[in-house]
Structures are given as structure tokens and as C-alpha cells.
Symmetry: C2
Subunit: 210 residues, 2 copies
Amino acid sequence: MNPTKAVENRREQILREAARLFAERGFHGVGVDEIGAAVGISGPGLYRHFAGKDAMLAELLVGISGRLLAAGRMRVAETPDPAQALDALIRGHIDFAIDDRPLITLHDRELDRLRESDRKLVRQLQRQYVEEWVGVVRRVYPEASVLEARAAVHAVFGLLNSTPHLGGQSGLPDRASTAALLHRLALSALEALENQAPPRRPWTAHPTER
Amino acid sequence: MNPTKAVENRREQILREAARLFAERGFHGVGVDEIGAAVGISGPGLYRHFAGKDAMLAELLVGISGRLLAAGRMRVAETPDPAQALDALIRGHIDFAIDDRPLITLHDRELDRLRESDRKLVRQLQRQYVEEWVGVVRRVYPEASVLEARAAVHAVFGLLNSTPHLGGQSGLPDRASTAALLHRLALSALEALENQAPPRRPWTAHPTER
DNA sequence: ACATCACGTTAACGCTCGCTAACACGACCG
DNA sequence: CGGTCGTGTTAGCGAGCGTTAACGTGATGT
């Protein structure tokens, strides 16, 4: 009855497999024939669903960035207490990192393979997501400077996105304990912003001094 | 007088530029002509110094892995106090992450592009480096399980290796403050292993329960 | 019954890329 | 001087890749 449904499913299936393959072997390391084979059709049949290989990557990256930002904004909006908002942000990011592992990998690995316009869009979404975090972090740790908070947020992203690296035998028993440990680590890391406020020196124009 | 010197310099120059280009645009995204152009010779002239493009990547990855491990082992060996050893490990890793940024990027991004034997070697070096950290971490935080410690170490690597992402306008003023912040964040993250010991349940055979 | 459309197929083109072949040329050395 | 070696060059091959073209085919709606 609704042909859109089947198409959407096909597209989503292709995107999921493409994400997995891109994450495993890199964007340039995967051929369209392999992506097609992964969904049961072969080679150029993909062009009935996507304009090209680049378009798949673009849709993947814009999608994950947008969903991260949307979820983050929603959690922050509905959580008045800063500490609880930070908790929610961390929990949400961990969900993405564990459940959409391939996308998280692509997200900071293959960004440069995008057309200029798409890359700008993705970067803008990423930046807004980071600033969402920075805002919450600064409300929890008001002594931290903006630059410190931003660098700390990037570092915590690196920490949370380390999930792909612990695949295999070095992983923790189940998903819950992995998530719990990552949560504790991230929260604990940010506590470094609490003590030891930055040298209260006003920011000079040229920070090259010492 | 010593012709080896010039050759070595040429090789090192090629490796340095190749690392930069690989990190910027990915292994498959860089052609041999570009690498050649970056050192003033063109295209196939590289084959007087390396067996092929793969050989360059292999030498880069084996090199960085080996140097990380060697430096880590040295610091641990000459630092009897566990807390100080952990401090030294963090400081050493930060030096690598900041000074050899492209190599750190390649290190966990292009490993799969290696021949089987090289990949096994690099993985073995990486594993030994991780275990060096795990040993120190467990002496500082004896309540943490091996699996927890290992996952935490991977996560801290992700945190420390986040340096490449804060390039541009969002970076901190100078190298020293970046290093200091990363150091505090890493140390603080690992303090999460101090409290809240894992459920002291003995490890069962199949961890799929709950 | 027939045109249309969604969704595939195979063949082939054009381009890029890693690599080899053949050659050049200055430095060193017996 | 003449041969070898180290280090480049350019030309070109062969393979792989993304993409397009041309065609097939079953479901659908009139």
C-alpha cells in the first residue's frame, strides 16, 4: 500500500551496511560492489537509491550529527538541574557510542571525504553539540574558562568514543557495565575542572607569552 | 664521508611528510605522487627508499608503537612509586600525542591497511603498552578488576589522543596549558576506579547473564 | 491488455593509482 | 679515465574503481 515504507527500509539497510563497512575498512577502502553485495543486490543497483557513494557518506554523517545534537538539546532542555543535565548528556552520548558504534567511528574519521557544503553542515552541527555540552559544563564548574571547558569536552568525547577500541577479548562482560564504567570515568574526568582554577590572569591579546 | 646519514635524513623526511598526509586525508586518499611532491622529488622516486606505499605506513606504525612501548617501559622501570609511574606514563603519552600528532592519528585509524604480519606486530606492541599501563593502574587502584582497568586505560588513551580534534580556533593558548589540562583530566578520570569497587561476584563462564 | 514505474541486471567507459622499465647523471674510486 | 653506485627522471602498463548506459521484469492502476 505504502511504497515509501519498502524504499525507506531498503535505504536504511544500505546505510547500515555501508556504515559498518566504512568503519571497518575506511571510505576509500570499500567498493560499491561490496556495499551492494552486503544487501543482496550487486554493484550499480545502489544508484537507484543514492546519487553516489559520496551521498551515502554524507547522509550518514549529517544524520548522526543531527541526531546527536537533537537528543542533546532535548535532554538539556528538559533537565533544569545542571548536574543532572550533564549526567543526561553523558548517558545519551554513551548510548550513541555503544549502539551506533560504526557511525561514531565515521563521525570523526571520514569527515574530510565530504563535499565542501556537507562538511560545513556537519561541522556546524558538531560545533553546536559541543557548545551544548560546554554550556552545561560551565554551569556545573563555573571556575573553568570557556577554552578549558571546550577542550575538556573534546577530551571527554575522545574518552567516550573509545568504545570501538575495546572490541574483542578485552571488553567488559556486558553493555551495562561498560556504560556504567564509561559514565564514571567521564564524570570523574570533568571533576578536574573543579579545583585548580586557571591562573586568574586576564586574557591578553597575544597568548604566546610563556 | 658517511653516506648513510643523508639517506637516513631523506627517509625520515619522507616518513614525516607521509605521516602528515596520511593523517590529513587517509592512507587511500594520498597518492605516491603527492608524497613525492612533498619532499621535492616526484612520484616513483620514492621507490629508491621504500618498497612501496604499504611499507611506509608499516614503518610508521611499527615505529610509533615501538617508541611508545619503549618509552613507557623505561619510565615505569625507573619509577618505583606507582602513583609517580602513572604520572610519568601520562606525561609521556601526552608528549607523543602533542608532538607526533599525525602518528597518533594514524596509530588507531589506519591499522587495518597493513599486511597481516605487520598488523600482528603492531597489535602486539600496542597490547604490551596497554598492559604496561594496566599494571601501574592496578597498583594504584587495587580494587579495580583487570577488565575495568583495561577498559579505563583504553578510555584514557581516547581522552589523551583527542588532541587532534582541538586544532584550530578552539585550542588552548599554548602547548603547556594543553598538556597540563590533559594531565589533570586523565588523572581525574582514573580516580573513578578508586571508589565503587565492581560487584565482587566471581567471574562466571558465560557473562551473558543480565 | 497495456503503459508505467520501481527495482534490478550486465557491459563497458574513463579515470586514477601503484608500480615497473628504461634511461640519465653526478660522486666516488681503483 | 672508466666502472659502479646512489638517486633521480619520464613513459607506460595493468588493475581497480565509481559511474553511466542499455536493458529486463514483475507489480500496479486504468
